[in-house]
């Protein structure tokens, strides 16, 4: 993504540049591999297989507590992300993100924030079974979700927010590294617990296969994969542990109403029975 207004470096004062690193477990480490790549003039961390595995560990460690937080609490956290994104909008427009896309991204966080304590009522409920039983179905997060994210800010938000609002944690392979890491800074200054969202910059074709076959990843979102052959290969690798796989047939229009599917695709339904009687 081209930058439209990089600060001009003058002789009187040298600008302090930002180092673009990974976002794992709430921290901003360099790649353990020590590798970087150049993206739009910046040296950006090039995530390795080990970074991906570290990110899964962080996501798994964070998952029970995040899922165990009240839905009200998760909703407030997501709303806080919207607030922080709104406050930092200039950083994104400086990176070339159109202003209306930043607006849409903020609004998407707000939209999902509101879903946190409503999705269970829409996706679950009491089942009228033919017998003296109390029977209720409720959605639960599927666990750790590996995401190959689209490059745009709105695309990135549109895959992260529906995954985490219900209590999943994520390892996100990003394109557009400056936008992604700037979003990580938004997340880090909101109240999103470390490890709930982990962002890796680099080449997803290199890291995604390790996540697709990883035993401790529950679901794989392939929305950002633009090579059908690679998508099929990742899906095949995911079959080894029967991961839930999101594989949109055509590139989605992120400006449209997302509907429930981005959330429900990453939910399990648990049904509990109990007899009634004195």
């Amino acid at each position: 993504m081209p930058k439209t207004s990089k600060v001009v470096e003058t002789a009187t004062r040298l600008t302090v540049r930002k180092t673009y690193k990974l976002y794992i477990g709430g921290k901003f480490p360099r790649s353990e591999s020590g590798r970087t790549f150049v993206a739009d003039g910046d040296n950006v961390a090039l995530a390795s297989r080990k970074d991906a595995r570290d990110a899964v560990l962080a996501a798994r460690a964070a998952q029970p507590k995040w899922a165990g937080a009240t839905a009200y609490n998760r909703g407030q956290v997501l709303y806080r992300v919207a607030e922080m994104l709104e406050a930092r909008r200039a950083e994104f427009t400086a990176l070339g993100v159109p202003a209306d896309e930043v607006d849409a991204a903020v609004d998407r966080w707000v939209w999902y924030a509101g879903w946190s304590d409503k999705i269970a009522q829409v996706a679950g409920g009491a089942n009228p079974v033919a017998g003296p039983f109390f029977n209720i179905s409720a959605p639960e997060p599927t666990g750790v979700v590996a995401v190959v994210a689209p490059a745009s800010l709105l695309g990135l938000v549109s895959v992260i927010a529906p995954a985490i609002v219900t209590g999943n944690t994520t390892v996100v392979l990003t394109a557009g590294p400056q936008v992604a890491i700037t979003l990580a800074e938004v997340l880090a200054t909101s109240d999103v617990p470390g490890g709930v969202v982990n962002l890796l910059t680099g080449r997803y074709a290199e890291t995604a296969p390790w996540l697709a076959s990883h035993d401790d990843v529950n679901a794989l979102d392939l929305t950002g994969v633009d090579h059908p052959d690679l998508a099929a290969e990742l899906e095949r690798a995911a079959a080894g542990t029967l991961k839930r796989v999101i594989r949109p047939r055509t590139s989605p229009d992120f400006t449209a109403d997302p509907g429930l599917r981005p959330m429900t695709a990453l939910l399990e339904t648990k049904t509990v029975w109990h007899p009634k009687g004195y």
Binding site: A130, G131, L242, R244
Partner: protein
């Protein structure tokens, strides 16, 4: 133990032909290459019928018939599709005695189960989904949900007709057409269902039944003109199907294996818990994907519970599936019996203590006495692998945290049981169990309105209830 006189159900209510063809496009015909296989009564090893093996050409014909039928079937008003399904439900009720006897003959399950569990649930499932056919816009999947097209459905042998109902009813209600492959060892009730469809005057091609073994199923799920694949069976085959389907854009639902924990706390009502444990593992000879095959007993309750369980097991009647007093019928096949024996021997050789009641078994047929293993650790293969037979592994725990950790220590996540009189504990434990169905102070209950399906490697998607519609809607 009370002595009962034999009380066999008459098999004269069912008329099994000597051979069966494939049900394609509304009529029966032989397979293209003339291959057949025999289906036997596992209680006697008597051959019940010869059944055609569907080869690639036959599957092609069945898929083509389903494709042709899809246009008009999906265009029917939902209310009309509903009436076909209501008809099917009624015919199943009317023929339920015949179908129950047939199911017990081909599968080996006790007539009490096929009569009182399988057949009532089959009819109820069609009734339930019939009612959805004209209400899909209200199901929460958008204002105008559309069917997917042709559904390839592959079902197991443990509940042959019930698994057919779980697959066919929601597919048809949502406007899809189907090609269904029943299991190789239990093809007959699906072929009788074809006759139910004929009696209901279901349009040709809406339901097609292709019989055969794994090759037929593999060809069907890989067929390029199939839009949806639904499979119930082992996790190993489920993985293969997921690989086959990857990259094709076909929708997939999988209902796979399990290794359910049945957790008994020391305040549980002991007699009810024992009944639940017995029902959990010995119902349907343990050929149940959601069977409570790992009993987790709180340490302080271990001795009285095991004593009581053994006393109860000594009263279980193993034998003739058609006898109305039989509790445990025949193991479905020689291959399954061999697997149960192998894992049981491994259990003993790994150091667990094996116990079965005195239990005379018939000379012919496939039989396995109800068995428990105590002293089982989490590392034992009988605590990790699905045995799919009447074999219970008993482990102990001290605290609720330990119970939950042990229950979740499996790649499976289909079902679980919790026994305690403390309501708050039920809710807290149920919350933390990674399983799609949690039975609290009960076990192995099923209902068409209740979603069923697994977490983790027990598969994905749900069958039953409003949730079950999603698998068949775009």
């Amino acid at each position: 133990m009370f002595e009962y006189a034999p009380a066999p159900e008459s098999r004269s209510v069912v008329d099994i032909a000597s051979s069966y063809g494939l049900f394609i496009d509304g009529s029966f015909d032989g397979g293209k290459d003339g291959d057949v296989f025999k289906t036997i009564n596992p209680a006697t090893e008597e051959v019940l019928a010869e059944v055609a093996t569907a080869g690639p050409e036959d599957v092609d014909r069945a898929v083509a018939a389903a494709r042709r039928a899809f246009g008009s079937w999906s265009a029917l008003p939902g209310a009309e599709r509903a009436k076909y399904l209501f008809r099917i439900a009624r015919i199943i009720q009317e023929r339920s005695r015949e179908l129950a006897v047939l199911e017990s003959l081909d599968n080996g399950k006790p007539i009490r189960d096929s009569r009182d569990v399988d057949l009532p649930l089959v009819a109820a499932h069609f009734f339930y989904y019939a009612g959805w056919a004209d209400k899909l816009a209200y199901a929460g999947f958008g204002p105008d949900p559309r069917p997917l097209g042709v559904a390839a459905q592959v079902i197991p042998w443990n509940f042959p007709l019930l698994m057919l109902a779980w697959k066919v009813a929601p597919a048809l209600a949502t406007g899809n057409t189907v090609v269904l492959k029943p299991a190789e060892t239990t093809p007959l009730s699906a072929l009788f269902f074809a006759d139910v469809c004929r009696q209901a005057e279901l349009p040709p091609g809406v339901v097609n039944i292709v019989t055969g073994a794994g090759d037929t199923g593999a060809y069907l799920v890989a067929h390029p003109d199939v839009d949806k694949v639904a499979f119930t069976g082992s996790t190993e085959v489920g993985r293969e199907i997921a690989r086959t389907v990857s990259g094709t854009g076909k929708r997939l639902t999988l209902e796979l294996g399990g290794k359910a924990a049945n957790i008994v706390f020391d305040d549980a009502p002991i007699d009810q818990a024992v009944e639940g444990i017995v029902n959990g593992i010995f119902f349907n000879q343990g050929h149940v994907c959601c069977a409570g095959s790992r009993l987790l007993v709180q340490e302080s309750l271990f001795e009285p519970l095991i004593d009581s369980l053994k006393r109860r097991m000594a009263t279980l009647r193993v034998g003739d599936p058609l006898d109305k007093n039989t509790d445990i019928g025949a193991i479905n096949s020689a291959a399954q019996l061999a697997r149960i024996r192998e894992l049981s021997e491994i259990g003993a050789s790994e150091g667990a203590e094996r116990w079965s009641p005195e239990c005379p078994l018939p000379d012919r047929g496939f039989w396995f006495a109800p068995t428990i293993f105590t002293g089982v650790t989490q590392a034992h293969r009988i605590a990790r692998e699905e045995i799919f037979g009447p074999v219970l592994s008993v482990l102990t725990f001290r605290t609720p945290d330990e119970a939950v950790a042990k229950a979740n220590n499996t790649p499976y996540g289909l079902s679980a049981g919790v026994w305690t009189e403390k309501g708050s504990r039920i809710l807290a434990v149920a919350d933390r169990l990674r399983a799609g169905v949690v039975w609290a102070n009960t076990f192995n209950k099923f209902d068409p309105a209740s979603p069923f399906g697994g977490y983790k490697e027990s598969g994905y998607g749900r069958e039953g209830g409003r949730h079950g519609l999603e698998a068949y809607l775009a």
